[in-house]
């Protein structure tokens, strides 16, 4: 199953990834990182199809995508 990893310390919570994701995998919780940004987390990782659109749009390169070969 494809998987995304969001590095909390690089994320600034702009939510471009959540807007772009076709399966609405990404959202936020009340957690914040060391700079006080409410970072994005994969709320519904089971829906991820590994399209990499979130990683392409992420301005801060916080998202990495994994897929089975």
């Amino acid at each position: 199953m494809p998987k995304i990893e969001i590095e909390p310390e690089f994320c600034k919570g702009c939510m471009y990834c959540a807007e772009t994701c076709p399966k609405k995998v990404i959202g936020t919780t009340s957690a914040v990182n060391s700079k006080g940004y409410q970072y994005a987390v994969p709320l519904h990782p089971e829906n991820c199809i590994g399209c990499t659109l979130c990683a392409v749009i992420c301005p801060d390169a916080a998202i990495e995508v994994y897929k089975e070969e």
Binding site: E7, C14, Y16, A55, V56, I57, D60
Partner: protein, 244 residues
């Protein structure tokens, strides 16, 4: 599990200094991923302009030099002439390239110096607090035009791609944006083409990124993308202006 999308190797593993949602960092990410793909990371020198561009120092792991206001193109020309094997890029904002450093930019382009210019156009002076820049849109409110930009008083927005296309020196000029995924992919291709022109020694190449400035526009990141799509792209049409 195989990693199918990775953070570019040339970026430092820390948070960068740009505001949330700023497309400056998207431009930096694209440039670094293209340099990595073309295997140019260890022979590239970057010349930073003044302003938000200075944040690149703790974002992009390249040999870099910061220049006085607007003089990035002149410094880049000097580096290229002293060390022709080095890939020289400049990274400048609109206040830096289109206002303070207009003379250096025009003359470097007119000489056809073999450098690549990345021009981030966000329609104001971001670092100093959102003052009017030459690229500010008509009727756009900034801290120095509180009633909106009035052409009788403040002139018209400057289209640098068209201005530089009128010269004979440049070999590649394109305008791109990073506001959505298809445009990010086109931007990546344009950056690659521009760097390829420099590798082939064809002359001056420039890529303009139509960007946003959520902080000084007073919008949320997502609202600023919509504003950029509706207003900025109407004034600054995308496309390849010169490809020799």
């Amino acid at each position: 599990m195989k990693k199918i999308y990775a953070r570019p190797k040339g970026l430092y593993r820390n948070i960068n200094g740009y505001c949330p949602g700023c497309l400056h960092s998207a431009a930096g990410k694209i440039i670094m991923s293209v340099l990595e793909e073309m295997d140019l990371l260890d022979r590239t020198a970057m010349v930073d302009g003044v302003g938000c561009c200075a944040n690149n120092d703790n974002y992009m792991d390249l040999d870099a030099i910061g220049t006085p206001h607007g003089r990035a193109c002149a410094t880049a020309s000097a580096i290229k002439r002293c060390s022709p094997e080095t890939i020289v890029i400049t990274y400048q904002g609109d206040g830096d390239l289109a206002s303070i450093g207009l003379a250096e930019t025009m003359l470097a382009a007119n000489r056809g110096d073999n450098i690549t210019v990345f021009f981030i156009n966000n329609a104001n002076y971001g670092m100093t607090g959102g003052q009017m820049a030459p690229t500010t849109l008509l009727d756009m409110k900034t801290t120095t035009t509180p009633f909106g930009r009035n052409p009788k008083e403040h002139g018209y927005p400057m289209d640098m791609c068209k201005i530089l296309s009128a010269l004979r020196g440049p070999s590649y000029i394109a305008r791109v944006t990073c506001i959505d995924v298809p445009n990010v992919r086109k931007a990546r291709q344009a950056v690659k083409d521009a760097l390829q022109h420099q590798v082939d020694g064809k002359g001056f190449s420039m890529v303009e990124f139509v960007s946003n400035c959520p902080t000084n526009w007073g919008l949320t990141p997502l609202e600023s993308l919509r504003f950029a799509k509706e207003r900025m792209l109407a004034e600054y049409p995308l496309g390849v202006y010169r490809n020799l």
